[in-house]
Amino acid sequence: MVDSNMVLTGQTIAYTIYCIVIILLVVWFARKVTDKGKGKGVKPALFYTFVGFLTVLGVSLHIITYNTIPWSKVDLNRSDYKPDKAFNITVKNHQFYLPSEKMVINVDETVLFDVKSEDLTYGFGLFREDNSMLFQMQVVPGHRNDVLWKFDRPGIYSIRSTEYSGPKGALMIVRDAVEVVSKNATN
């Protein structure tokens, strides 16, 4: 199953290759443009091909991610899905108020996190034990802030505010607040 780590690994590989290619291209250009030789005009066909390539690239990126990143479709159509579990969380005075000390989830359950702010704009993110991010969303006061997430493997996650809400916001961390356990473990 594709998870956020795998998506980011793919992105890292793709972007790194791109960076190497574009840096080499500019280095090549810098050498060639100062080399001996006569300047010839660039053919318009090359220009139009390049514009066509950019258009295809820009559009296809979103089509590819929509069809390969599992949470993209779910996120845009949340109301069509029925969660296996729902947690209502409140944020106020730079504190998370959780429904229980530890939120326990079974592997393969789809869970709805409904987070409400009673004062400032905050963020809500789940982070792995190695500090990498599982997902995040903004928590805007006066609006519904809900995210649907399918947990496909066991793990322990901390909650952290992912939006700046003043200097106190940096301390908004609840360690090991979410535990995902295999079905056998709960049985």
Binding site: L8, V26, G41, F47, V51, L54, Y164, S165, P167
Partner: protein
């Protein structure tokens, strides 16, 4: 000439400030102040980077966030706006071959931007007012965390910069359209139509192409100025709104914060702010690339009509992309996320890619070229945007944004590479090419130092962006503090890259001071002895 004499009189004593016209002095003042504020930004950046590695004993946590608030604003307004306004107030009349509409207004723009930046920077420094540049409602009006007086001065400083910006825009459009004394009457309509790209766009479909009344770089400045004007209105309105709450608090009234819808405010604010990030920066930069390419090559621009039309498209694109900042806001309508946040934003890949190609093709047509300072910095600027724009397109995706939003990825490979490498190196290229024109033939003190500046800035900027990006991909948030050294490896490497930028900047600053001399630097700020509206002194 010995060191002391060069330090006082400049390289070979060639720079004589008393020979400068009022317009040359005005432009040089903008550049000097812009560079000083860039020095502020580099120093602040280094302090914050070191703080991220290990909290510094002389900086408190609230002060860290006050620096974080001031840092981008000083960079954008104090440094970039100063250099850009100075350069364009000179270049627009230079390219239109007529005087600036009002030097007085230009002076007021300089004073308001320089003083306004100092006021909001000081307000943050003294009071630790720190709602960040994002000002997410109701944070800027949260007086349980921030000083109301500090906030008031902060907002007044920003407002002064915006008024200065408004005067700049008026001056630019009046310069394009006014008829100087003794000239045959110029018609405003066709000039405006050419400046806004409407003529260029219509030419794409006409058999008999209409003549362009306004040079392409001026058209880019005019179109960027439209975004600048809209942005000024949004920021001024937002500032007044925040001031209402501040004045209310000072008078003892607690106004209801919930009267303002936080999501609507966020949409409004990002719509306005993106007119800088995705509007005027990209349009101004494209225009500057075109100008630099034609000045370096002495050749016409490749695909000029397409370039003009693209600037018009970019203007419309910049009005409709703001939603990519709200992809993680779950109450934001999905249609806005997909259409504005993803699809229209992807157009920036096309418009910026097109400007990249046109600039390279123009340079190519004139090969062999000499690797001068303007050319190498221009190539650096092109590379910067070629790296940063795709990084931005990636995060402007519903799926990827869920795991990238507010991480160091956003601010590293996208923001810092775009600004430090893309924008700043383009501005350096413009400074190097304008230097002999603005100084009546002064010489650069040391080419070796110019090379140090180039390599340190380029490698430092890309390195910083790369290491911040790696930290972001591993989960490090922006606008946060990690006190247990979780991401120290990346932050130390980013700090080393930042040190390279600092070395590059100091080399450049020293090189410029040695080129014009301390007497010359001070002379820039004294009134001009030549009473003329001409840009350059009579031969």
């Amino acid at each position: 000439m010995n060191f002391y004499k060069t330090l006082i009189n400049g390289e070979e004593g060639l720079f004589k400030s008393e020979t400068l016209t009022p317009m040359q002095k005005l432009t040089l003042r903008f550049v000097v102040v812009g560079l000083i504020y860039f020095g502020f930004v580099v120093t602040e950046g280094m302090l914050m980077r070191l703080y991220e590695v290990k909290p510094l004993p002389f900086i408190t946590e609230p002060q860290f966030f006050a620096i974080l608030t001031a840092h981008p604003l000083v960079g954008i307004f104090g440094s970039t706006y100063s250099i850009v306004c100075g350069a364009f107030l000179f270049l627009v009349p230079f390219l239109m071959k007529k005087p600036l509409w009002s030097i007085k207004l230009g002076n007021w723009t300089f004073i308001l931007i320089a003083a306004g930046t100092f006021i909001f920077w000081s307000a943050g420094f003294i009071s630790h007012y720190a709602p960040l540049y994002t000002l997410y409602w109701p944070l800027p009006a949260d007086f349980s965390q921030f000083s109301v007086w500090g906030g008031t001065f902060f907002i007044v400083g920003i407002a002064m910069v915006m008024v200065g910006t408004a005067l700049f825009i008026i001056n630019i459009f009046k310069t394009i359209t006014f008829t100087p004394e003794g000239w045959e009457k110029q018609r405003t309509g066709p000039l405006l139509s050419s400046a806004l790209g409407i003529t260029g766009f219509n030419n794409l479909f006409r058999k008999n192409k209409k003549e362009h009344l306004v040079p392409l770089p001026v058209a880019a400045v005019a179109r960027g100025s439209v975004d600048m004007a809209l942005n000024t209105v949004v920021i001024l309105f937002t500032g007044v709104l925040i001031l209402v709450y501040m004045v209310g608090s000072i008078l003892g009234f607690d106004l209801k914060e919930t009267a303002i819808d936080a999501l609507l405010y966020k949409n409004w604010f990002w719509w306005g702010l993106d007119l800088i990030a995705d509007g005027l920066v990209l349009i101004f930069v494209a225009g500057t690339w075109y100008l630099l390419a034609t000045l370096i090559t002495n050749k016409p621009l490749f695909m000029q009509n397409i370039a003009r039309a693209a600037l018009l498209v970019e203007l419309v694109v910049s009005w409709t992309v703001w939603s990519h900042h709200l992809l993680s806001d779950q109450a934001q309508p999905a249609i806005l996320k997909v259409v504005s946040g993803e699809m229209v934003t992807a157009f920036e890949l096309i418009t910026q890619g097109l400007a990249f190609f046109i600039t390279l093709a123009t340079l190519w047509s004139a090969r062999p070229l000499k690797m001068t300072n303007p050319l190498k910095f221009l190539l650096g600027g092109l590379l910067g945007f070629a790296l940063a724009v795709p990084a931005g397109i990636m995060q402007a995706d519903v799926g990827l944004n869920r795991i990238l939003h507010n991480t160091q990825w956003v601010v590293g490979p996208h923001v810092h590479v775009a600004i430090l490498v893309g924008l700043t190196m383009t501005l350096y290229s413009a400074i190097y090419i304008l230097f002999p024109i603005l100084t009546n033939g002064a010489k650069i003190y040391s080419q070796k130092l110019a090379n140090v500046h180039f390599w340190c800035h380029l490698t430092g900027g890309i390195g910083m962006g790369a290491f911040m990006g790696m930290a972001g991909l591993n989960g490090m948030l922006r606008r946060s503090i990690y006190s247990n050294g979780e991401f120290n490896v990346y932050m130390i490497l980013a700090a080393l890259s930042g040190t390279l930028i600092l070395i590059g900047f100091l080399s450049f600053f020293y090189n410029i001071v040695m080129s014009v001399g301390l007497k010359g630097v001070l002379g820039i700020f004294s009134p001009s002895r030549i009473k003329t509206k001409d840009l350059l002194p009579a031969q």
